[in-house]
């Protein structure tokens, strides 16, 4: 196993679960990122601003975590992530993620954390399905093409 980082993975996971729990118990909202972002436009009065605030806060928290993380745990590297995908492929992948999460009504956070946390059968089916197609896609890209 390469670059396996169990401690930071569990710690980060606990925080993601905490975030979902906070938004649910305090605001009564599911923290599926695709759903929160997808509901911003078209605007519905009284239902847009909290979505924008959440979506802007995610990269802010990501930046703080990136800066602070390496001093918390030696597992966390101080290097910037890389996204070397060719622009055309990035657009294709982005479109697939946008279309798929809207049609399937959820992504890794909405189905994976919130839905599974609520023991939803729909979400379990969604997670198994997107995990399966993602694993097959990576296999094709890395081992066949």
């Amino acid at each position: 196993m390469q670059n396996f980082t169990p401690v930071s993975a569990i710690l980060g996971g606990l925080l993601i679960g905490l975030s979902a729990s906070i938004l649910w118990v305090a605001n009564g909202r599911l923290s599926g990122v695709s759903g929160i972002a997808g509901g911003i436009y078209p605007f519905h009065r009284g239902d847009a601003l909290w979505r924008v605030v959440f979506i802007v806060a995610v990269p802010l928290g990501g930046w703080i975590g990136f800066m602070v993380g390496p001093s918390l745990l030696s597992e966390i590297p101080p290097t910037l992530p890389a996204f070397p995908l060719a622009p055309l492929l990035a657009v294709v992948a982005g479109l697939l993620v946008g279309i798929g999460t809207r049609l399937g009504r959820g992504c890794t956070s909405g189905h994976g954390i919130c839905g599974m946390g609520r023991l939803s059968k729909r979400s379990a089916v969604a997670v198994i399905t997107f995990m399966a197609t993602a694993v097959v896609t990576v296999f094709v890209v890395r081992h066949i093409l």
Binding site: M1, Q2, F4, S8, A9, L11, G12, G13, L14, G17, L18, S21, I22, V25, A26, N27, G28, R29, R45, V53, I55, A57, V58, L60, G61, G62, I64, G65, G69, P81, A82, P84, L85, L89, A90, V92, A93, G94, V97, I99, G100, R102, G104, R105, C107, T108, S109, I113, C114, G117, L119, R122, F130, T133, A134, V135, T137, V138, F139, R142
Partner: protein
């Protein structure tokens, strides 16, 4: 939801904790995500199971937090008027096909929506195009779903829902 300060403060806090968790678990790194999805690397010993531990840690808390309302008999959320619960319960074709399409995009890029937004503060030039495409895809699919739901009455489309 009424535009109230506590609701927005909670949204900000939840978003920051979410992004922080993604950075700490390094799910902001598409390469690391793909190293988990790469089951073909298991025989050679190059597989990285970290993402499963992120999911496990998240579920550990969510299994309590997402059901806390039922357990303690909360009728309404702490600072908002009502819980907004999912309105679908059947396993339908849309769920399976949509999730399947999402997985292909996720496997191609190593990015799902949360990390894509989180990376906007770290590597905006390379991830920006992906995020724009993702938002366009989501919007277009939303439009298509709305049209197919009311094919004969396009003029009677949904108005502003009640708050």
């Amino acid at each position: 939801m009424k535009r109230s300060f506590p609701v927005l403060a909670v949204a900000a806090l939840a978003g920051i904790v979410f992004g922080f968790g993604l950075a700490v678990s390094r799910m902001i790194d598409p390469e690391k995500v793909m190293n988990f999805l790469d089951f073909g690397a298991i025989p050679a010993g190059g597989w990285d199971p970290s993402l499963a531990f992120v999911m496990g840690g998240g579920l550990l808390v969510a299994l309590v937090g997402m059901r806390l309302d039922r357990w303690v008999g909360l009728r309404a959320p702490l600072v908002a008027p009502a819980f907004v619960r999912p309105d679908r319960f059947q396993i339908d074709r849309e769920l399976v096909i949509g999730s399947g399409i999402f997985g292909i995009g996720w496997g191609l890029s190593g990015l799902c929506p949360g990390p894509a937004f989180a990376d906007l503060s770290l590597i905006p030039t390379s991830v920006g195009l992906f995020v724009v495409a993702m938002l366009v895809g989501s919007w277009a699919m939303g439009q298509a779903l709305e049209w197919s739901a009311e094919p004969r009455h396009p003029s009677a489309s949904v108005g502003v829902p009640a708050e």
